[in-house]
């Protein structure tokens, strides 16, 4: 049981749950939902992505959709392009931050954001009913390969970051796009911002040379030689360019939690406003937002929730502790290129190397763990936990925005059933490592006893 269907996408294990036949039905449901509209289609470089691309294209054509094929293209670039191309939506085929063998379809709405829940549920209803729009020969759709979308994207991106300042600094930057969808575009990006690029894992390939999830452990390759190549910063990305972690000039692989923190600190210094994050992101964010006298809004975990809260609260910046950020004024999606640009700008404008920017942040000890379980067990476990809160002793508050978060003055621990994997994720953050360890162990023990 590896298939996961959410309102904004379908994810599964190739050769097991991700059967092209189901993928085609899901794509047909989306094509039906858009009433055979214009759809942008992009994929990453995973071995199974061309197959899914063929399946999705075929299915969308059968619904009468006008498919604009972007080929290998990162999800955020597709999200950005939906509105300029006047499309009804988009489908991005990507393994994202998942390991070998996984792949997914992300559905993008007409506004460029992950399909909002109401629309997504309609897609699921159509999928389950199997009642698809089916055009006859004279009215089927078409596929057209498009190009030039990257130029438009980078031109607009350059207006949201201080490209000139970055250019003048003549930086040397390492980028590891995981052999994924970002590969064809990082040289253009480097030219646009005028830095010297040292690419790592920068040839498009379905083979994953490291862990797919950007985090310190997956940054070890880069960390081992950044000093030798005199790199001033290193960026480690997921296959879809949606998540990012960083390596400092001294070779420190930083927690992906600080990607958003560094960006928030800089963006708020430039233009204060409402910030949106999820309920299990580092409290560094709380501190940073408070420091800039801004307001922080918390949502359940997931890009779709962040976008929707940004709209509701007129937020200027959104992001998650998993290593993602978006500026809704630029793009309604987590965007690796934007994140890299903002971090570079923060370094250049502040005149400080990344290590110093990191040191200037209030930093906590954060520990992330997970417990394998069936999906029903996972949600059930969280329910049971709520009945046993007394076991945590004196606490300073609870937050049930998504799963269960327990707050203390000196830290928090959060448990939630993953939407995309058969696990319960536990995150614990405290001022001391021992305390964080203690609380994560306690939570894991409790989950173990209720499963």
């Amino acid at each position: 049981m590896t298939l996961r269907l959410a309102s904004f996408g379908m994810r599964g294990y190739v050769g097991d749950s991700l059967n092209p036949r189901d993928v085609m039905d899901y794509a047909a449901a989306f094509g039906t939902f858009t009433d055979g509209g214009r759809i942008l289609l992009a994929r990453d470089t995973r071995y199974s992505s061309p197959m899914l691309h063929a399946a999705v294209a075929s299915s969308l054509i059968s619904c009468g959709c006008e498919v604009l094929d972007m080929g290998i293209c990162p999800t955020p670039m597709l999200q950005f392009s939906v509105q300029p191309y006047g499309a009804s939506g988009g489908v991005s085929i990507t393994g994202g931050h998942h390991g070998m063998g996984w792949n997914s379809l992300s559905l993008i709405g007409a506004d460029g954001a992950f399909l909002e829940p109401v629309g997504g549920e309609t897609v699921l209803d159509i999928f389950h009913a199997g009642d698809f729009l089916r055009k006859r020969s004279d009215n089927i759709g078409s596929v057209t390969e498009i190009s030039g979308f990257d130029e438009r994207y980078f031109e607009t991106l350059a207006t949201h970051i201080d490209a000139k300042a970055i250019k003048n600094a003549n930086l040397t930057v390492m980028i590891d796009p995981l052999g994924g969808a970002g590969c064809p575009y990082i040289t253009t990006f480097a030219r646009q911002l005028g830095f010297n690029l040292i690419g790592v894992n920068d040839q498009p390939s379905g083979y994953l040379p490291r862990e797919a999830e950007p985090r310190p452990r997956s940054a070890l390759q880069m960390a081992s030689f950044i000093r030798h190549v005199k790199g001033q910063v290193g960026f480690v990305l997921s296959s879809d360019m949606g998540r990012m972690s960083m390596v400092s000039e001294s070779g420190e692989p930083t927690s992906e939690e600080y990607t958003f923190a560094i960006i928030a600190d800089y963006v708020l210094s430039r233009s204060p406003g409402v910030v949106v994050t999820n309920s299990c992101t580092t409290r560094t964010i709380d501190d940073v937002v408070r420091r800039h006298n801004s307001r922080l809004v918390k949502t359940p975990v997931g890009q779709a929730y962040i976008v929707s809260a940004l709209e509701d609260e007129l937020g200027v910046l959104g992001g998650e502790g998993s290593g993602s950020a978006m500026l809704p004024a630029f793009n309604r999606g987590f965007d690796g290129f934007l994140m890299m640009g903002l971090v570079l700008e923060a370094m250049v404008v502040g005149g400080k190397p990344l290590s110093e920017l990191l040191n200037a942040l209030p930093r906590y000890h954060i520990i992330k763990r997970s417990v394998a379980c069936g999906s029903r067990q996972g949600y059930g476990a969280i329910e049971h936990l709520k009945e046993r809160l007394y076991e945590f002793g004196d606490v300073d508050g609870f937050d049930m925005t998504d799963g269960l978060r327990i707050n203390w003055n000196d830290g928090w621990v959060h448990a939630r059933a993953s939407h995309t994997e058969q696990i319960v994720r536990v995150i614990s953050e405290s001022e001391s490592r021992e305390l964080a360890e203690k609380r994560v162990e306690m939570m894991l023990r409790l989950i173990g006893s209720v499963i």
Partner: protein, 464 residues
Amino acid sequence: MSNGESINIKETLKVAVSGVRGVVGVSFTPQLAASFAQAFGTFVGVGPVVIGRDTRPTGLMIEQAVVAGLQSVGCTPILAGIAPTPTLLMLVPSLGARGGIAITASHNPGDWNALKFIGANGLFISESRAQELFDVYHQQDFPLVEETLIKKVRFEKYPTENHFKRILSYINPQAVKRRKLKVAIDCGNGVGALYSPIFLDAMLGCDIYPIFDTPSGRFEREPEPLPQHLGRLSQVVQENRCDIGFAQDPDGDRLAVVDDKGRPIGEDLTLALAVWQVLDKHERGTVCINVPTSKAVDVVAARYGCQVVRTRIGEINVAEAMLKNDAVVGGENIGGIMISKIHPCRDSFSGMAVILEMLAMRDQSVSEIIGSLPSFSIYRGKVAIRPELAPIIIRHIRHTHEPAKINMLDGLFVDLGKHSWVHIRRSNTESVMRITAEAESRESAKAIVDSYTKLTAEIIENNR
């Protein structure tokens, strides 16, 4: 073609030995194509599988679905793009592929499409193998491969190269080139539009007059090259004083001929001409034809002392009979010309080549050549019946004839002497018995059909 509102029973999916056919958007969907491709990949095993299509607008959509289906079970799709069905049949063994899928509804209307399954030997899969394939399909339990075992798509850039090379090494292209024949070619907006003008002009040195030669798949004439659909071709032949006119069906397996006077000669005589040239100038041996083919072929074969074997209707049945009987040439009465040494499959290109060679070598016109054959006429009739009466009718009529004159391979075929026969079979598409007869004149053929129609009516009456 019916309107999109009401779903006509005739538009339902047809799953048969000849493939999986349906109306796109009604009964034939990409999902179905992907599933059948998965079943086919499972059935032939991991390895290369050739995929080609005709010019229908839905071809690319179905091709993409087939690609995904094949990749999911570990096969390597080899895309031939828009290519004639005979080309695909030949490609499969020449590329050492496990099999092939031709995406074509052949002569069916433009809003149909279909998958036709090709075995590793380059022939359509036989009935028993097709049953096996459908069992795999109905089981819906395909061995999906994990991501690292998914194979990349390969492309066959020049799919007809091998096909045309075989034809040109079979005939004498120099003889054809020297004559600079004036040829009108009606590609029917099918695959021929991409290949026939080049084949006739560059390879056979003909002076060509192409019509319906955009590969749009939007058929400007009826897709089946029946005599009544060849008006435009006849006109072009007459206006330009062409030596001959050819017409192809959308996937390029069937051929029709218009003579130098602009008259369609009929599909039976088209076949007879090709058989004649093969036996006369190339090789002598057994001829295999499907049951209701004109005796013109028998007359031609008799001139060279060659045996004729009648087989069940359907390309694979004729092909298998050809292999079994070591036949040199054969075909079907729908203008399907099959030459063993080129490839035992219906091929309009082989047909055009040998017929042009015949004109070049004989220095005679098409009408003169045909004029030297006795005249034949085929008359077709039908009687409405309740389908369950069909076996009773056939059994009854069968017993009124000597066993030696009977062929029961496909319905009931009765040899009625020198130049005539009658063929009675139940239609696969309507609740009727089809009664077809051949004789030396239209009147006598009609008389035969009338007498069997009367006999059938009596049997129906007695079984009321």
